[in-house]
């Protein structure tokens, strides 16, 4: 899922500084699960902004609402009226949620309350780690199901580099060496021979390097839209 974390309150305050009426919009999907922008976080954010701006002597009207999925336009219709009544919308969705609202509400001023961090999973209570870089050309089948694009600091395809030490990456003792993980897994499964082939240069065109990406599925298109 998409992992995000809240921006510092000072930054959020600066983003809504010009507004009197603020609507905090949470999202019921990924950012709820990672405790960054769900109903609870939206309520706390709204209360914090009310208190902070009151203490500053310029109390703002701050309301909050949560939609099921901020990244789908159909879920945004239900908040259209509330959006129309405020000066600024503070999205506690990921970067996609912010942009879905911008595209849906042409007159609204929408600002982000979160930093969208990565695609990952919770590994322990309160800990999330990156797992996928959305490169568009999955190679997990070659590497024992451990992604070197997302998890090796240098995205090496023929790793490990010389910076692998006691299972961790040279950049930080907290970062596991992806290639040590790949080696250990393939070794335990008796498939080390897979690491002996030279992996050719990657086609990065399917990643962000090829420009903004889009998928069109003709089988799912409606006849009217095809015209």
């Amino acid at each position: 899922m998409i992992i995000a974390e809240q921006k510092p309150l000072a930054e959020v305050k600066a983003l809504v500084a010009d507004a009197q009426k603020v609507l905090v919009v949470g999202c019921g999907t990924c950012v709820t699960v990672c405790f960054a922008g769900g109903a609870r976080e939206a309520a706390i954010m709204a209360a914090s902004l009310r208190m902070a701006t009151q203490l500053d002597g310029n109390g703002k009207e701050v309301a909050e609402v949560v939609v099921q999925r901020q990244c789908e336009w159909e879920y945004l219709d239900e908040i259209a009226q509330q959006v129309g009544e405020v000066d600024v919308v503070l999205s506690l969705g990921c970067g996609i949620g912010v942009q879905a609202m911008v595209e849906h509400f042409s007159n609204a001023w929408v600002v982000p309350g979160l930093n969208t961090s990565f695609l990952g999973l919770p590994t322990e209570q309160g800990v999330w780690a990156e797992r996928c870089a959305a490169c568009g050309d999955c190679i997990l089948g070659l590497t024992g199901g451990i992604c070197p694009i997302a998890r090796c600091s240098k995205s090496l395809l023929n790793g490990p580099c010389g910076g692998s030490e006691n299972g961790h990456c040279e950049i930080n003792a907290e970062v596991p060496c992806a290639w040590q993980l790949i080696y250990d897994r393939l070794s335990s499964l008796g498939k080390l021979d897979r690491l002996l082939e030279i992996q050719p240069p990657k086609n990065w065109r399917t990643a962000r390097d090829g420009g903004p990406r889009k998928i069109v599925r003709p089988d799912l298109r409606l006849p009217a839209e095809e015209e």
Binding site: K154, C161, P201
Partner: protein
């Protein structure tokens, strides 16, 4: 040994290639470009190294700190009559930039190339930079070998005219993890087209012997020239720091103790109690011992089957290279 092209029998015709091919025990050095645009620094260092090494590595933004480019510095080294080994990392260039820079480097007279992944930029002085890592070091070795041998760019497009004929090398850190995989990964570098290998600094001879045994068993020492990395220790503090902080760098305690022992006359005194002269004398004692240890290491490494030479890393201490090479009985360098 590496496949030969048509013509003169050499892949590149570089001095390093010739020295190795003629069966001499090769000596390469290292020249760190300055953090400024002063070419005179390169000339001075080149003069210290010339005659003592068969070729010298020009580091490429080493430890991710911005320095004069390896190719720019290499052009000056060529002018000085010393042969450069251009280092190139995957951190700062994509495949377009790599290929175009190498066309330029060849045109400027450079003939040796060392392909590296590169230290991560978070170590250096621009930790907020975006990195590239379009290719990895093995893919770079393959790309430049194919440019030389088949006259095609990485995209597969053929080109006409002069191809860049580099003597292509790669690095190897024998004691980095996973240690069992290192000789196999070395094999991948050879398969990709590497003709020579320069290793991480070796201080633990027994461990290096074990590594080389595996390398020989895999038949790799028949296919690639292996230059063992050596370097003089400057002080026991530096030795301990390197041992604790540099991945894959093993320094036996016995060597650190030897360094500490020569500093014994000044031991037990606090920083403030030592005069300037004391510190200078202690430094000199350490450096003499560091050079002595380095010479001994080279002599032991020479005895190991399958080692074709040494790569002396004395960065910011280029003066040490001559006494080391001389002390190891490796002067004069062969003229081939």
């Amino acid at each position: 040994m590496p496949p030969e092209p048509n013509g003169n029998g050499y892949l590149s015709g570089s001095n390093l290639e010739k020295v190795l091919k003629h069966g001499h025990f090769a000596v390469t050095g290292e020249l760190g470009p300055p953090q400024n645009a002063d070419g005179e620094v390169i000339r001075k260092k080149a003069k210290l190294l010339k005659g003592n090494c068969d070729a010298v590595n020009l580091t490429d933004n080493q430890t991710a700190i911005v320095r004069m480019s390896s190719i720019g510095a290499g052009a000056i080294v060529v002018q000085e009559g010393l042969e450069p080994i251009i280092q190139m990392t995957c951190r700062d260039r994509n495949r377009l930039a790599m290929q175009s820079d190498l066309l330029g480097a060849y045109a400027l007279g450079m003939r040796n190339l060392l392909c590296l992944s590169g230290d991560h930029q978070t170590f250096g002085n621009h930790p907020t930079a975006k990195n590239v890592f379009d290719l990895d070091s093995i893919q770079m070795v393959q790309m430049v070998s194919l440019m030389r041998d088949t006259k095609v760019f990485q995209c597969g497009e053929a080109f006409k005219g002069q191809e860049p004929r580099f003597f292509v090398g790669a690095a190897e850190s024998p004691f980095a993890n996973p240690i069992e995989f290192r000789p196999l990964r070395l094999g991948k570098k050879v398969k990709a087209g590497a003709s020579f290998i320069q290793t991480q600094l070796i201080y633990d001879i027994e461990a290096f012997k074990t590594f080389m045994t595996k390398v020989r068993e895999l038949g790799l020492s028949e296919k690639v020239y292996i230059l063992a990395g050596v370097g003089p220790l400057k002080s026991p503090t530096m030795a301990r720091y390197m041992k604790d902080n540099v991945p894959g760098l093993w320094i036996p305690d016995q060597l650190i103790e030897r360094m500490a022992a020569v500093g014994a006359p000044w031991a037990g005194k606090s920083k403030d109690e030592l005069t300037k002269e004391d510190k200078k004398a202690r430094s000199a004692a350490w450096q003499t011992e560091g050079i002595k240890i380095c010479i001994e290491l080279i002599q032991q490494i020479r005895e190991i089957e399958g080692v074709a030479g040494v790569h002396i890393m004395a960065i910011e201490w280029e003066e040490a290279v001559k006494p080391i090479v001389e002390g190891a009985g490796l002067l004069p360098r062969p003229i081939v």
